[in-house]
């Protein structure tokens, strides 16, 4: 004990020397500087990178943010807690339609009729409602595993979309305008135009989600969710209720999905139920798996990759799916941990290790 008191062990991982000492902090700082820089892109007019020649660039970046925010929550559920809940597309739709219907003027024509709520009230209400639905669904779903869970939650997602499709004569209070689609009332930030305010809103939502996500995964919740994923049944003797934490993950991911859906709707200004079918779910799965399942920066990287690819291939819709499929196969084969782990994989690879050894032996011989 006296020896231990003389040289206390580090409670947190020891810092490697040099720049790598601050790698973690630098990465976090870098990402948030990057996020802080993003608002200036549309203002300065640098939208070409995500453009295909029709001035869609700003809007597309906003889609990156929306998908990123949804993927962040999805990552908590699937990547961290290992729960294959697939209701995300339906909850995304709930966020999109919920905010659209609640914030629409009540005296408008059918495609744009609603309940007159202010958008900034409707948004948190819808997100919290989605989180509650996520938790309620989680109760029975947390007892299921693997495929069974996937099927049950997939059905819930479809159920939400099916309810949205209901015609006015079935449920007139719903005001989703059935299968023909709903026009989304735009929330305008004072002083900004339509596209720009949607852009800033989406960015704000993403930054908010990222902040909460980084803080939570770095601390107790991150390791507890991983425990639920990896040692599920053995969490009992640790005093961790795996059901409780699965519900927490369900709630958080539902909140994120609804928020992302609302941002998506603000940005696309028109919502159609068929958008939220299984295709959206597959998109989000691609974002997550190509980016890196259960990796901190995976969702963000995946979202950039996905929207970039989609934009470049917009003219050839069929090719898009082909390339997405190939990307998914390649990601699983070559990068099982996603693009987020590429630097580490390169660092640990035989070639780089070999190169390092050669460089070291070179420096040994030099005077």
């Amino acid at each position: 004990m006296t020896a231990a008191a003389a040289s206390p062990r580090p409670l947190y991982p020891p810092k490697p020397p040099g720049v790598r000492r601050y790698r973690e902090q630098l990465t976090t700082l870098g990402v948030f500087v990057f996020l802080a820089f993003l608002p200036w892109i549309p203002i300065l007019g640098w939208t070409d990178i995500f453009d295909s020649g029709n001035n869609f660039g700003r809007g597309n970046l906003a889609f990156v943010f929306a998908y990123g925010a949804a993927a962040v929550g999805f990552n908590l559920l699937v990547g961290y807690s290992g729960t294959l809940g697939l209701a995300v597309a339906g909850l995304f739709a709930l966020g999109a339609y919920g905010t659209a219907v609640l914030s629409a003027p009540s005296d408008a024509r059918e495609a744009l009729a609603g309940y007159d709520w202010p958008f900034l009230l409707a948004l948190p209400v819808v997100c919290i409602a989605a989180a509650i639905i996520g938790v309620l669904v989680g109760f029975p779903a947390a007892r299921l595993k693997g495929f069974f869970l996937a099927i049950a939650t997939l059905a819930l997602g479809e159920l939400i979309v099916t309810i949205i499709r209901l015609d006015d004569d079935v449920w007139s209070g719903l005001k989703t305008n059935g299968g023909t689609g709903k026009q989304v009332p735009q929330f305008l930030i004072p002083g900004l135009d339509r596209i720009l305010s949607a852009y800033m809103l989406s960015l704000g939502a993403l930054v908010l989600m990222m902040l909460a996500y980084i803080v939570l995964t770095n601390r107790r919740l991150g390791r507890t969710l991983k425990a639920v994923r990896d040692i599920d049944i053995a969490t009992g003797p640790l005093g961790i209720s795996s059901t409780y934490y699965k519900l927490v993950a369900f709630g958080l991911s539902a909140f994120a999905a609804a928020l992302a859906g609302a941002m998506w709707a603000q940005n696309s200004s028109f919502a159609n139920p068929s958008t939220f079918r299984t295709r959206l779910l597959v998109f989000l799965l691609v974002v997550l798996i190509v980016g890196g399942l259960g990796r901190k920066w995976g969702p963000l990287i995946g979202a950039v990759f996905f929207v970039f690819l989609r934009q470049k291939l917009q003219d050839t819709q069929k090719l898009l799916f082909l390339i997405l499929g190939i990307a998914l196969i390649l990601a699983v084969l070559v990068l099982p941990n996603g693009i987020a782990m590429l630097p580490k994989q390169v660092r640990d690879s035989r070639w780089v290790k070999d190169l390092q050894r050669r460089l070291e032996s070179l420096s040994d011989f030099s005077p």
Binding site: R9, V215, D230, I231, G236, P237, L238, G239, S241
Partner: protein, 278 residues
């Protein structure tokens, strides 16, 4: 108060209430009777639970920690029935356990894995975490301190920030024991803690366990096939065979019991009471 009727077994009976008592426990999986009326009393100190494979040793642990429902009988922790409590509540009441195969998060560090053991003792919830409250931060540092001390006792301080998957099986089992102990339990169930450990690891394990047991007056119950280890460590051993206790008592008594020799030990085993296995 019970000085007059003190039973011949001596010091143990001074504790009016056993740390963990199992009364008439019966468990059946379908028609397969795994436990047929098991009575066990565990007092602070080391208690051995031995028997051939399939005798029901792990089932006793599973009933106590809440994985298997008993069809009859009671399990009392310090006199209070725990069978109605959920697994999480039993942990709060003071029951800790490890598993035969280590269950760790392989891509988290040894420290993070050990911190899981403190999970229930955090007073601040996840909202405090999200709001970056300094109290929560302090609590985390405190928990890390406790975990680091525990890892140090089991010779794992150097490996604290390595990924658990990079450790050998033996070290992983030591991490699991450390994780069970940081939760400050009063009764610890260790399921074959020494199986698969090298000689050095066993020494470290025993030294750590003895230290902690002496400091906290802990009740440690060990299932183990390494009889040298059990007989040198446990003053009291119970032998389970086909769901029944066939013998109970000191290592010398148990190992010379003809019933135990016939059912489990075979001939030729002698208690090596002088030395510790090393």
């Amino acid at each position: 108060m019970s000085a007059v009727e003190a039973s011949p077994s001596g010091a143990n009976s001074a504790d009016a209430v056993a740390s963990l008592a199992v009364d008439g426990l019966q468990v059946a999986f379908g028609g397969n009777h795994v436990l047929r009326g098991v009575d066990l009393q565990f007092t602070p100190g080391f208690n051995g639970l031995i028997g051939p494979n399939g005798a029901g040793k792990t089932t006793v642990f599973n009933v106590v920690s809440g994985y298997v429902r008993a069809s009859e009988g009671a399990v009392r922790l310090h006199g209070e029935d725990v069978l109605k409590l959920s697994r999480t509540r039993r942990v709060r009441a003071g029951i800790g356990r490890t598993f035969q195969a280590p269950r760790l998060i392989l891509d988290a560090t040894v420290m993070e894995n050990t911190l899981l053991g403190r999970h229930n003792l955090f007073r601040w919830g996840h909202f405090a975490e999200l709001l970056l409250l300094p109290q929560q931060r302090r609590e985390e540092t405190e928990a890390r301190q406790i975990c680091m001390d525990m890892l140090e006792r089991f010779g794992l301080a150097e490996a604290a920030h390595e990924e658990a998957g990079a450790l050998s099986l033996g070290s992983q089992k030591l991490v699991e024991v450390a994780r069970a102990l940081v939760a400050s339990p009063t009764v610890v169930l260790l399921d074959e803690p020494a199986a698969g450990l090298g000689a050095g690891d066993v020494t470290v394990l025993l030294r750590g366990l003895r230290q902690i047991q002496a400091e906290r007056d802990l009740c440690v119950i060990i299932i183990e096939h390494d009889l040298q280890l059990v007989t040198s460590l446990c003053p009291k051993i119970s032998v389970l065979h086909f769901g029944e206790i066939i013998s109970e008592g000191s290592p010398e008594h148990v190992t010379s019991d003809p019933v135990v020799i016939g059912a489990y030990l075979g001939h030729g085993f002698e208690v090596d009471s002088g030395e510790e296995p090393s």
